[in-house]
Symmetry: C2
Subunit: 171 residues, 2 copies
């Protein structure tokens, strides 16, 4: 027996792959690690290990794997509007037939930061970040509306970002 911190954890089921979904390999320990990194993406591995009951090396391994698998990413986020330039907008899109080709096309555009399929009066929501009004107009009217399966679009130009957090795990 080593440090003693470990003992408590070995009691619970190691995996606990979440019951309610079809997502891959994210047990409760990794969840706890993610929560730590949601609070501070640069928190040292040792501190995280202490918080979740794991050794520094183990945390490092798991974080690396989560990164490789694309389950999470550690990045700097800003409000582009605050940083200075660029126009932003959310675009609601209704599609004729299969959503995937449209979603793929949107994903391929560098101006599109965020693409999500939804249930409701829009089939897809896409967030767009542009240089200026001309650029925004070009993307929406010339490139998105040009996609064959796109039936209609509606735009919401951003005026001010009021909140932006990533703390779903901690509350």
């Amino acid at each position: 027996m080593h440090s003693g911190v470990v003992a408590s954890r070995s009691a619970e089921p190691r995996d606990s792959r979440e019951s309610r979904n079809g997502s891959p390999q994210v047990d409760t320990v990794s969840l706890a690690i993610i929560e730590q990194l949601q609070q501070d993406g640069r928190r040292p591995y040792a501190a995280i290990g202490k918080a979740v009951g794991l050794s520094e090396a183990a945390v490092r391994q798991r974080v690396q794997k989560l990164l490789d698998q694309g389950v999470m990413q550690i990045v700097a986020v800003t409000d582009p509007l605050t940083v200075g330039f660029r126009r932003q907008a959310m675009v609601g899109i209704t599609v004729e037939g299969d959503l995937d080709p449209v979603a793929e096309a949107l994903t391929a555009m560098s101006e599109v930061e965020y693409v999500v399929m939804t249930a409701g009066s829009f089939d897809i929501l896409a967030e767009i970040v542009c240089e200026d009004d001309d650029h925004l107009l070009d993307v929406i009217n010339k490139r998105i509306r040009a996609l064959p399966a796109v039936r209609s679009t509606e735009s919401f130009v951003y005026l001010k970002l009021k909140k932006q957090t990533y703390m779903w795990g901690t509350r």
Copy 2:
């Protein structure tokens, strides 16, 4: 004269507060630093310094200030749907009168991750992350629609997140 890397920078105007906006203190060098951290939030300061032509300590200071000022945050981001639990939705809201009180109220809700004021048929867009359908229903129907100034809402339940990046600086 010291390292020589500095010389090139001293040629350009130090501040270069962006012309087209009213945002505070983010010069081109800090912009470059943010770009680095958008690629990898854990990149060492020395590496960043080499990339933007600054000393390690200088980068450290600027990063700290950007963090303190709330201009950027370094965090782990995930797709909650992928991680397992929780229901997500975007809610479009139309408001009667001043938007600010409503925006404030939304910001105060822990289930609300993202609030933005927009121009278009919605006044505010809010992204919501919930435990399950009951929780989602509660937040939308009982808490958001209960706000006095809220005229109407429309919900878009997330089915699948297709893209999520933070690379507006680099393209």
